[in-house]
Every structure is written in structure tokens, then in C-alpha cells.
Amino acid sequence: MKTIGFIIQKEFKQIFRNKGMLPIIFILPILQLVILSNAATYEVKNIKFAYIDYDHTSSSRALVEKFNASTFFNVLTDFPSQEIASSAMLSGEVDVVLEMPTNFERNLLKEKTAELSITINAIDGAAAGVTSGYVNQIVQSFNKDVRMSIIDTSKKIVQPVTIESIPSFWYNTTLDYKTFMVPGILVLLVTMITLFLSGMNIVREKEIGTLEQINVTPIRKSQFIIGKLFPFWIIGMGLLTIGLILAKIIFNTPMLGSLLLLYGYTSIYILVILGMGLLISNFTDTQQQAMFIAWFFVVIFILMSGLFTPIESMPKWAQIVTEFNPIKYFVEVVRMVLLKGSDITNILPQLLKTLLYALIMNGLAVWSYKKVS
């Protein structure tokens, strides 16, 4: 026990004496949280909008006016023809082209139906999907206005039955993406820093030759590993604390659930990450190799964690793969506990899987750590 305590003490001394390490541990996460949370938005704004008006009637102008009034669209210009609009789209000047055919108003009034053509630049698929949603909303609201005016002028027409759905967004009533992103970025921050630090730590001893000296001593494998990894467990918990405080102060992220539960889950989750770090350490000879392997896993885990893209929209095989992604569980738990106020029974499946993962990872890591080659 005394030995473990001494190794921990030594590790902390080394961490705090490493001039390059301190900013990595404390400044980078703060920057990450502030920058990413503000930049990683799903909202699509300032869409470059252009139109081709073959109709030139009050209806077509009213529709354009609707787009103009929207904060999402920048109405740039009107094009005289389809060809010019296409070349403008090709050169990236516009993202959306609305084409109103001749007789748009007449068809609308007489036949109660009219067609519009909308072309969206889908080079960024996600943005195109969102843009299409916005366009539909505006066209529908225009539709409603028109219908009202028709009813006003000719009362005889039977009003068609319309069903309107008014969504209510639970757990994030204003659909503020920051509420949704900040807890996720928090996960990213705790995971990346602890994995990189622990992954490089034992390899560093290999690189500078001290591991050889340590291996000749009677120190037990378990003592050494616990002593090496415990400081990073503390740092991980510290990062979570810093992250939560920043989330509260800067983003006013709701924290409905029990923070104690979140800390409890995180304490197990960090064990998984530390186990991974140790495993990487065992199979690499230089910090550079360790860094690349850690990066490889972090990138895959983050992209498949549901942090940026919903897991439900992944192909079936990818969804199965995400079952083995510890970051996915952490993202789920953080969001559930903070935004929904879930209690232990709600997060029990994630908790158990993480615990199992921690046991397997650390078991493998300790087993593969050899003092003798």
C-alpha cells in the first residue's frame, strides 16, 4: 500500500513538472468545450437562396417575400432562366433555387393546385436535409395563407380538412443544440485526455528506459499498474468537474439528474478508458505509436458514439459495432442524467455494460503486461 502511494506521489510530481503536460490537461479541455460547443451546430443558417420567377404575379412575389422574411435564408437574386441558375449553383453562388412556373398563380386559384420546383445543393447531405425542411415549412405556411385568401374571396368552396401537428420537444423544449451538444463534448473531453495520457504514460517509461529498472525490482505488477493509472483516474474526474462547472456557467446546461450518479458512472467509465490506455501501452514501444493507435480508436469511437450523428440512422452492422463502443454508453448516460434526470434504474443497462467492459479491458491489460520478455 505504501508502495502504491509512493508511485502515485511520484506520478503526480512528474505530471506537474512536465511543462508541456499541464496546458494539455487543463487549458485544452476548456478550449475544446467552448469552441466545439459553439461551432458544432446542427442549425443551418444563411442559406444562399435564389429564385426564377416565370410567373411575375402577386402570389409568386408573396412566396419570395416569405423566404425573405425567414432568418435562415439570404435571398440573393432572381435568375432569368434555369440555365443561369444551374451554372450559379455549380459555381457555389447559391444553395437553393426556387422555380415558379408560368401560370403559377392561375393554377393555384383555378385548379387549387400548383407546382414549384426546388433545387438544393446536396454536397453536404445533412445541411441539404435541414434546408429542405425549412423550405417545406415556408411553402406550407404560404399554402395556408393562400387557402385563407381563397376562402375569403369565395366562401362557397368547401374547406379541406387539414391536420396540423404541433411538436413538443421534451427534455430540450427550445431545441437548443447546445443543451444537446455540451454534455456530449464533455464526454469527448474526459475520454480523449485520459486515454492519451494513460496510453502514453507507461510507454514513456519504456522509451526512457526506466521500465527496465522498475522490472528488476520486486514491485508487483498490480502495485505498479494501480500506482501508474490512479493519477489519471483522478485527472479524469477532475476534468469532468471542470467541464460540468463550465457547462453550467457558460452554457447553462440543465442538470436535472443526480450528479452523484453521474460521478459514479464516470468513475467506472474512466476505468475502461484507462484499461484501454494500458493495453495500448503494452503493445507499443514508443509514445508516437501509442498516440497513433489511441487516435485511431478515439476517432472511430467518437464518430460512432451518437455524439454527432444518431446511431439509429446508421446501417445495421454499424449499430451492432456501436454496442462495443464505451463512448456511446457514456454519451447516453450523460445526456440521460443531465437532460432527462434519469435515475440509476434507467441507466442500469449502460452501467452494467460499462462495468463488464471495464473488467474485460483491465483484465486483458494486466494480463498482457509482462515484466519479463
Partner: protein
Amino acid sequence: MGIRLSNISKSYKKVKAVQNISFNVQPGELFGLIGPDGAGKTTIFRILTTLLFPDEGSASVAGFDVVRDYKAIRKSVGYMPGRFSLYQDLTVEENLTFFATIFGTTIEENYDLIEDIYVQIEPFKDRRAGKLSGGMKQKLALSCALIHKPKVLFLDEPTTGVDPVSRKEFWEMLKRLQKKEITILVSTPYMDEAALCDRIALIQDGEILEIDAPEAIVKKFPKTIYNVGANNMYKLIQTLQNYEHLYSVFPFGEFVHYTDKRDSIETADLKLYLENEGLTDISIGVTQPNIEDVFMELAK
């Protein structure tokens, strides 16, 4: 007790690092492994310090088998690897305390053993190990290897890259440690250090060429060695290499060491030959063979 190796072999993939190595080191002996880089010295150290399993053969250190009782060995040996391997970002004192703690002891408990060495670096005890000079780093490494009062001390090329004064000091320290009943196995590529050991093993390409006391090894040298000097060293060696009776010639300081195929020669003949070849200031004298001569002879 001491160290015992019998028929140890170890290969890395296809490269045979050591082959069929056997030797014994008596308790309290200062034993030297002498050989060039790549001879297999470090492999022997790594096997004896339980960092590496041998492919074949058996070995014991302080009475413990290197494979079966490796835990006991780790408690009772001190190891100083060839490369400085202490924590550069910890201070002198922190390094020493760290190693004392993981061996379950304290600096105070065994201070008498390291006192001679540690007093020299004590003024710098708050300096980080990475900022020490080469000689001081080495003293610190030796202190760390000794802090738990080991029965056997392994020193892998401790004087490589160290200045001559520190080297001399270091060997004096080893002699003093030997008096404290510590068995010492030391390796070095420097032939002049070999003479300071009780017994040495000459090793090359993973095989032992000769094991004996340095004086005895020197006595076994079969030839008479002539110290030959002339005005032009390069030309002298070339000329001698073309001499019909040449057995061997090696540069040695400002002279060359020359041996002849014949059992006895007239130095005047040799002098005449050299003069005819255009060399001047020729001096020829008989000299005592040293370890280097023996090594060059055995390694031929």
C-alpha cells in the same frame, strides 16, 4: 551463491545472441565480461536479472534459479543498465527515495553502504537527475542500484561514455563495494578496465573465448610481443603487413604491437627490413602482452 550459468543460449528470431555460455562467479568476486559491442553482454545481464528467459540452459543468482525464483532474485540484486534509466524529471533525492521505497526500505537504513558514493552527489540532491553531469548520473544510478543492499550487483557497461577521471573513481568505488561482500558482475568494452577485475570472461559473437584471472590470461599469450615505433605510423603498419614473417600487427598507442611467426627473431633483421623500406627513427623492444593483445589473438 554468487552467480552460476550453465549452457545458456538465447536467440532473437534468427540471430543467436548468446550460445552455450557457462561460467561461475564466486561470492564476493569482481567478475568482468569483456567484449566488443554486440558480443552478447547485455543479453547475459538481462537473463541474469530475470528480464529475459533463456532459450536453453539454466542459471542461478545468489542461489536462486532465474526462471523459478525470479521474485527472490529481484529482491536481492541491484541492476544498473547501460543506459541511464532513472527519472530525469525527479530530483536526485526523489529518485533515491523512490527506489528505496519500492524495495521496501529507506535511505537511512542502508546509508552506510552508499555513503561513499552518495556524499559526492548530496550537494546536488535537489537537482533534477536529467540536469546532472555524466559522472554524477552514474553515481546516482549506482546509489539507486545499491540502496536495498543487494547481494549481487549487475553493472552493464557502467563506464561507457564517462570521462577517464570518473572511470577511475568508479572502479575504485567498485573495489570498495567488493570489500562489503557484494558479488559484482560488470561488463565493459574497455580492455584496460579488465585488468581491474578478479577474473574476466572474454566474449565475442555470443561465445566465451576465455575465462581466467587477467594475469593468467595474459600469461597464456603464446607469442613474444614487440613494441615497434617509427616516424610514419601508417607506413609502418603497411610495411609490416608485407613482411614475410608477420604473424600479427595492431596499432597500440604511439607504437604497434608486432608478433612474428618464428619463435625467436633477431630484432636487427626486422630493423634492417624496415630501414630498407624507407622508415626512420625505428625502435624495437620486447613488451608484456596485455588483455587487448590476448583478445585480438583469440578473436582472430
